[in-house]
């Protein structure tokens, strides 16, 4: 029986549970012997001109080896935005801000010490004079260009996606009902448990070795080389264990390059581990869109037209976040068959922490917008939101479906996903309970929230045409095997999953297969892990390499057994070749590696991205006196095609659901009007705890994709895509009968209470 599809326990767990993972801060390596410690001095003001920096007091402090400012790094290239053709190229920065700081947290200097505690003491001694400039916090203020962050650019607009002037003024002409709402998809902090870090050492050969927690060593190598103005071949990136990433550890950050620069400058290895305070203001944030949705249709529940207008906060320097509206627009209509839909977006810079990718990266924003719009439309026409969705979902399809926004949905059966979720939730009973509470006028009301979604996973080109990834499989004479992968696990369980795929082909037990990743000298190519791409491309590459290895071994086995290759069968159960009809004539696979290495490198290339889908049902109780919302149930159908290991797939769903619920219920990164961040510790930033979510109820559905032999789509982000609007919709649904139409996330007690007060005064 195949091991695929079974609940194989993780081989990586015993290590994590006992001695713990070896994260960047934990790395002990002779190349890092005597490493100094780098501390970043960061701007305490949102926008200012630096008139003077004096590091002399810091230099005199105990243990201080050196201190550097932006002027010292003048030999390094300035940094323009990625995708220069798309984003405003005149919005440039330096590794350390030398003239102007543009957000609280902008690094202006580093202090380098022998011991970590000395750095904590000395960094406060760097004296910086700031001439304040006006903060630009609201997106409206940014878009007005009254104060521009980059004089050279002359505007705060990073990019336009579509032309607002080209919107169809007749889009809603034939609609009986048109609803419009302004929605904030708030800024959140990715906040992986392991903060950012780096360790850097330069060899006598002039090459840099950098240990950095990341989501793909190869991309981090390129990014780091670019920031340092050197060739990627001069850089070796090593990925230690990574304590969570959620999209925010792709590539390289300026701090990583500064640590490498310090190591070179001082001729001594250097290390840096940021504090949680630094992490919350320094690591890229996620989401941060202001959306205007307009939806129109007929009173029988058919939507005729939908429009999505987006203002994206890019933060102080354009990074991936500035580009995310592209993905949001791509997924505008979600799983629905809207006859007409259109979307435009604009990205602007503000004096806040830069925006980057966060679990879902642009797609959760699309789903949140359309799922809120569907509920607004349903409320307006007085129809059950499940029924409105059913009437507008695309019918099932097995041939790819092309959307008007350029997405090619590979396979889908959205109505079945909705029905399964409703059945698992016992939707009718929930509605009856809700009706009874409303009838009684209970203080605690019940809300049921839905979200139907389709998302895109595994997009983007690799080393081959189309989405692709490489893997190398090697069988050793002792009966073990090694896999090299271009993907980069940080909690997903690749060591187990990839071993399962190889084991299934090679007949070598999972616990005899070692996975290696994250060393660019060992594995020069790779796309890393993100966008829910790993299994469908990286896993498929492992399977392909293992299959090709069997064919390579077959030739050797034929020679060994003096038989024709065509007459050999590979017995997976015994991990050996046998001559058909002669069970005694066998040769073990491992033996074929004795004389020369037995390995194959394969590149798997997919025809395109895949589109997982599903339906989430959230049940929330809302105390109408205090505004406190409690998530009581979470039922989800997440169809990501064939499941390789249910244990791992469920884990991905759980984590995503919780992060989605967290955004809907509690999380928000806040600034005051002067650009001061207000949520800079875990005491202030409302990171979800175990008490705020229930256990989750997962229903199974698996519609295979034909885009890879495994039949798998991505599962890493689905949870956060579906859960966010489902939970938000549930909270609003609980108080909808009291006249509340919309509540922005997070649906905090204060927001819910205010919405109730506003509705009461409006109705009263």
């Amino acid at each position: 029986m195949s091991i695929l599809g079974t609940r194989v326990l993780r081989t990586e767990d015993p290590r994590f549970l006992t001695t713990g993972g070896v994260y960047t801060e934990d790395v002990v390596d002779e190349r890092l012997a005597g490493a100094c410690h780098v501390f970043f001095v960061r701007s305490p003001v949102a926008h200012a001109r630096i008139s003077r920096i004096d590091v002399s007091a810091a230099l005199a402090a105990p243990g201080v080896i050196a201190a550097f400012t932006g002027a010292d790094l003048a030999d390094l290239p300035d940094i323009g935005p990625m995708m220069p053709g798309l984003l405003n190229e005149r919005m440039r920065r330096h590794l350390l801000a030398a003239d102007v700081v543009r957000y609280v947290g902008d690094a202006v200097a580093v202090v380098v010490t022998a011991e970590p505690y000395q750095g904590e003491d000395a960094m406060d001694l760097v004296d910086v004079d700031y001439e304040p400039l006006p903060a630009v916090v609201s997106l409206a203020a940014a878009a007005s260009d009254e104060v521009v962050l980059f004089e050279e650019a002359g505007t705060n607009i990073v990019a336009n996606f579509g032309d607002p002037a080209a919107l169809d003024e007749h889009l809603f002409d034939d609609c009986d009902v048109v609803v419009r709402e302004e929605i904030v998809n708030q800024r959140v902090a990715p906040a992986p448990m392991e903060t950012r870090a780096a360790a850097a050492a330069w060899g006598e050969d002039g090459r840099l070795t950098a240990w950095i927690p990341n989501q793909g060593a190869q991309g981090t190598r390129s990014g780091l080389a670019g920031l340092l103005g050197i060739e990627p071949a001069q850089v070796r990136v090593i990925t230690p264990d990574v304590g969570g990433a959620f999209g925010a550890k792709f590539g390289a950050d300026p701090e990583h390059a500064v640590v490498a620069w310090v190591a070179k400058k001082l001729g001594r290895p250097a290390r840096w581990t940021e504090t949680r305070y630094e992490n919350l203001i320094g690591m890229t944030h996620g989401r941060a869109q202001e959306q205007t949705v307009t939806i129109g249709g007929s009173r029988d529940g058919k939507v005729q037209a939908y429009r999505l207008e987006i203002l994206q906060d890019s933060g102080a320097y354009p990074r991936i976040g500035a580009v995310l509206p592209f993905l949001t627009i791509l997924m505008t209509p979600g799983p629905y068959a809207f006859p007409r839909a259109e979307a435009v977006a604009k990205s602007v810079v503000t004096t806040t922490t830069p925006l980057g990718a966060y679990r879902g990266a642009g797609r959760p924003e699309a789903t949140a917008a359309v799922e809120r719009a569907m509920d607004l439309f349903a409320a307006e026409i007085g129809m059950d939101p499940a029924e409105v969705r059913r009437r507008n979902l695309l019918p099932p399809f097995t041939e790819p479906h092309q959307t008007a926004f350029g997405a090619l949905y590979d396979s889908g059966d959205y109505v079945v996903a909705l029905d399964k979720a409703l059945a698992a939730a016992d939707y009718a009973t929930l509605r009856a309970d809700q009706a009874a509470r409303r009838e009684r006028g209970d203080v605690v009301q019940l809300g049921i929230g839905l979200a139907c979604y389709v998302e895109i996973t595994g997009a983007g080109d690799g080393e081959a045409a189309g989405p692709s990834e490489n893997a190398t499989v090697e069988v050793h004479p002792d009966g073990t095997a090694t896999i090299l992968t271009g993907t980069s696990p940080h909690g997903q369980g690749h060591a187990t999953a990839w071993a399962m795929l190889a084991s299934d082909e090679l007949g070598i037990p999972v616990d005899k297969i070692t996975l290696k990743w994250g060393d660019t000298d060992l594995i020069p190519e790779g796309g890393g892990t993100g966008g829910s791409r790993s299994l469908q491309q990286g896993g498929a590459a492992v399977q392909q390499a293992a299959q090709e290895l069997i064919e390579l071994a077959r030739e050797r086995a034929a020679a060994s057994l003096e038989a024709s290759p065509a007459d050999l069968v590979f017995d997976v159960g015994r991990s050996a070749f046998a001559v058909a009809g002669d069970p005694d004539a066998t040769v073990p696979l491992a033996q074929l590696a004795e004389d020369e290495p037995l390995l194959v490198r394969a590149v798997f290339s997919a025809p395109g991205a895949t589109f997982p889908f599903g339906t989430h049902v959230a049940v929330a109780e809302v105390d109408t006196e205090t505004g406190k919302a409690t998530l009581t149930r979470m039922i989800t159908v997440d169809d990501a095609g064939v499941v390789l290991n249910p244990l791992l797939a469920e884990g991905q769903r759980h984590g995503g659901i919780a992060q989605g619920a967290a955004q809907a219920l509690v999380e928000e990164f806040l600034y005051d009007d002067d650009g001061n961040p207000l949520t800079t510790s875990f005491a202030d930033y409302p990171f979800l705890s175990a008490t705020e979510v229930p256990s989750f109820e997962l229903a199974d559905m698996a519609t295979p994709t034909t885009y890879n032999p495994i039949g798998a789509k991505g599962i890493g982000e689905a949870g956060s895509i579906g859960a966010t609007p489902a939970v938000q919709n549930a909270v609003i649904d609980a108080v909808a009968h009291l006249g509340v139409r919309h509540i922005d996330m997070p649906t905090s007690p204060m927001r819910v209470w205010r919405a109730l007060q506003a509705a009461r005064s409006e109705n009263g």
Binding site: T19, M193, E194, G243, D519, A683, V693
Partner: protein, 203 residues
């Protein structure tokens, strides 16, 4: 410098430390026990949780000197080398960990929780672990793991390993090429000692 005398995972130790040295940094840098992690600045996340005389504490908020005369147990010392404590086993069985960063602290908090309440309800587990944050699992499987460990113990206390567990890996554990290579091979004495099977798979 001041002298701290204490027992770490069954091993008596005496070290000169800065008075302000935090227990978590003492464990990580002086003892070479790096399972406990630092995940925040505000005693909020619990990644550094260890047992102090059997009670779970956040070791980022304890000075090393305050542990004088006490027994410190870390994830490394929870079970004899090469074995898993029932709580560690339950976390693996129920997939209660993903990236692993919160895990050693979460496991220690869970052990501490069951020592106070050997037969908790789901709500009590969630309340009891409220001070330990996890970004990966959504807590679902962590809660299941703790309930499974409690059920396995049948309401009896799930004890930490005896002082003889010998999990203290000594200075410089978790060293070696494996750690550097990012292939997941936490080589070196500490990892090999505490996780025999794993070390073989990884070698």
């Amino acid at each position: 410098m001041m002298r701290v005398d204490l027992t770490v995972n069954g091993e008596a130790r005496s070290d000169d430390v800065e008075p302000r040295l935090l227990l978590v940094h003492y464990l990580r840098e002086v003892c070479g026990l790096r399972a406990a992690n630092v995940g925040c600045d505000t005693t909020s996340c619990g990644a550094c949780t260890v047992l102090l005389d059997g009670t779970s504490v956040k070791s980022c908020t304890v000075l090393a000197l305050q542990a004088t005369g006490q027994q410190v147990t870390t994830a490394e010392g929870l079970a004899p080398p090469g074995e898993l404590h029932p709580m560690q086993r339950a976390f693996r069985q129920e997939h209660g960990l993903q990236c692993g960063f919160c895990t050693p602290g979460m496991v220690m908090a869970a052990v501490g929780l069951l020592s106070e309440n050997p037969d908790p309800t789901e709500a009590e587990v969630r309340e009891g672990l409220e001070g330990n944050l996890c970004r990966c699992t959504g807590y679902h499987n962590i809660v299941r793991a703790v309930l499974a460990a409690a059920a396995e113990a049948g309401g009896a206390e799930v004890p930490a390993a005896s002082a003889a567990a010998g999990g203290a890996a000594g200075d410089g554990a978790a060293a070696g090429d494996g750690a550097a290579a990012g292939d997941g091979a936490a080589a070196g004495d500490g990892a090999a000692a505490a996780s025999g099977d794993q070390a073989r798979v990884r070698a």
